[in-house]
Amino acid sequence: MSQKKATVLVVDDERAIQRFLRPSLEENGFAVLEASTGKSALDLVVARKPDVILLDLTLPDMDGLEVLSRLREWTSAPVIVVSARGQETDKIVGLNRGADDYLTKPFGVEELLARIRVALRHAERVARDPEPVYEHGDLKIDLTSRRVWLAKKEVRLSPLQYTLLAALVREAGRVVDQKRLLKEIWPEGGSTPEALRILVHQTRHRVEKEPVRPRHLKTEPAVGYRLESPDD
């Protein structure tokens, strides 16, 4: 990403938000485009082809989810949905309609930058092959040999536990919603959200030093799970 500045399109009708996002994004090496309506956002995406789109769901002229659906008809540029707490259903709908991730208002700059970087890296990686080895803190997962280490000690996992981790490694840094995980881990169906929660719980007790305060495998309440993005 050193060659050219990545462009972020911020779609939000609140001036206060725009005013804080522009300098923080520019300071961190991004070019910023702004749109305050759904229509101007769609026009800007056509004209300027931003690398990442930050889409607030509450817009004056149209539903943010509608904007997302229209975008997905012809562009695969990563979209990060921004919404308030309590709109968990909207987040899930957003993810199902092709959003890459979401941010909950209010959010800090660190969180915003982390999401944008993950989205960019992911868009890049889809073009190439996935990284075969995931490392984050004391956790290491090798997708080629199907082995997992915690603090340099190999961890024994059941096949389901490994499948869960592998599914999350492929999306490392991004939220993966519950429905999708269920489909990936139990492709023939017949499982339940409870079974997934138990599986996550057991996996945490294998790969987290302090399972109640997970450092790698995070819960996104009412949406799904996220494996922290790998160390650089």
């Binding site: 399972p211 109640v212 995070k218 009412a222």
Partner: protein, 334 residues
């Protein structure tokens, strides 16, 4: 009430007539008028204007038909009885009018009392909330304006802005969930490992805890419990924040145990503990032990949420000092 009132008036007239037949041999004719007047009074006291009027009329008619000679006709022999009827009707009207008025005034007074009570609650809510909203806002505005004037940004002021804004966010979240519950929103209960819910709460209060230790004692094989994850997370956030605020030094302890038909979770601190008389009151809305900051909403919503889950919550003083909040959650959905 329309039809019912008239039915009651008719029934009362029938009763008065029956009483009249019983009394007829014993008392003078004019005394029977009193019986009908009492009947009208009874109807009027229910607050029904129309039926009271109807009752007055019915009283006069029954009195005439059943008792005034010639009996069992509406025909009147002596003209003096016409005066009796008129007076009887007039008295009945006045009685019913007064009785209805007493009744409506009593109702109005009761309504005014309810309004006053709501008003009082609303104003205490407003003062608590506006104080809670203004304090962080004052800190934010003050810090920001100082930063605007100074050449170099001060990390302390920036931290102040962020932390106070976080505090506002939590308060607003509490208010929204409180009103959601009060409007009778239903819980979205699903089976969760309690460790998962406690974990997201711990992450949310990370900044408030500022690196201080939280010991956890959660066996791996605890049963899942049916909870609304968003609301239950709020319960743990409030309990942890409360403990952090009142017991600023030593580590907090979060533990859970499986019981017969429920799960028991305890959050304990080593703060000053609670006065015995406060152990129950801490869960009241707007109650604040000591002068510590807070709107007195946090524990009230904990109780509302836990109760809505069919569980219980109580406060105890720990042996060796400190307070402990213990909540139970049923293992099966109610």
């Amino acid at each position: 009430m329309g039809f019912q009132g008239y039915a009651v008036a008719a029934a009362v007239a029938a009763l008065c007539t029956a009483a009249g037949f019983a009394l007829f041999p014993l008392v003078s004719l004019t005394d029977l008028v009193m019986v009908y007047l009492v009947g009208t009074l009874v109807v009027a006291l229910r607050g029904w204007r129309g039926p009271a009027l109807f009752s007055s009329l019915l009283g006069v008619l029954c009195f005439n038909f059943f008792f005034v000679p010639p009996r069992f006709t509406l025909h009147v022999e002596h003209s003096q009885f016409v005066v009796t009827f008129l007076v009887m009707f007039a008295v009945a009207l006045i009685i019913s009018h007064l009785a209805v008025r007493v009744r409506t005034q009593a109702e109005a007074a009761k309504r005014a009392e309810i309004v006053a009570e709501t008003e009082r609650l609303r104003s205490s809510l407003l003062s608590a909330v506006s104080h809670e909203l203004r304090t962080p806002l004052a800190a934010i505005v003050g810090s920001a304006s100082t930063l605007l004037q100074s050449a170099a940004p001060s990390r302390d002021l920036l931290l102040n802005i962020r932390d106070e804004a976080d505090r506002l966010t939590r308060l607003i979240h509490n208010l929204i969930e409180t009103s959601r519950l009060e409007f009778g929103a239903s819980l979205k209960k699903e089976l969760y490992p309690i460790e998962d819910v406690i974990g997201t709460a711990l992450e949310r209060v990370d900044k408030i805890l500022a690196g201080r230790g939280v010991e956890t004692d959660l066996p791996e094989n605890l049963p899942l419990v049916p909870v609304d994850p968003v609301l239950m997370e709020l319960v743990f956030v409030n309990l942890l924040e409360n403990a952090a605020r009142h017991a600023p030094e030593a580590a907090l302890v979060v533990s859970a145990r499986e019981r017969m038909d429920h799960l028991e979770v305890a959050i304990a601190d080593r703060g000053p503990g609670l006065k015995p008389e406060d152990l129950e009151r801490v869960f009241d809305k707007f109650f604040r032990a000591s002068a510590a900051p807070g709107a007195g909403l946090g524990l009230a919503i904990c109780k509302a949420v836990v109760t809505a889950h069919g569980g219980t919550i109580r406060a105890e003083n720990r042996p060796g000092g400190g307070a402990m909040f213990i909540l139970t959650l049923p293992r099966k959905a109610a």
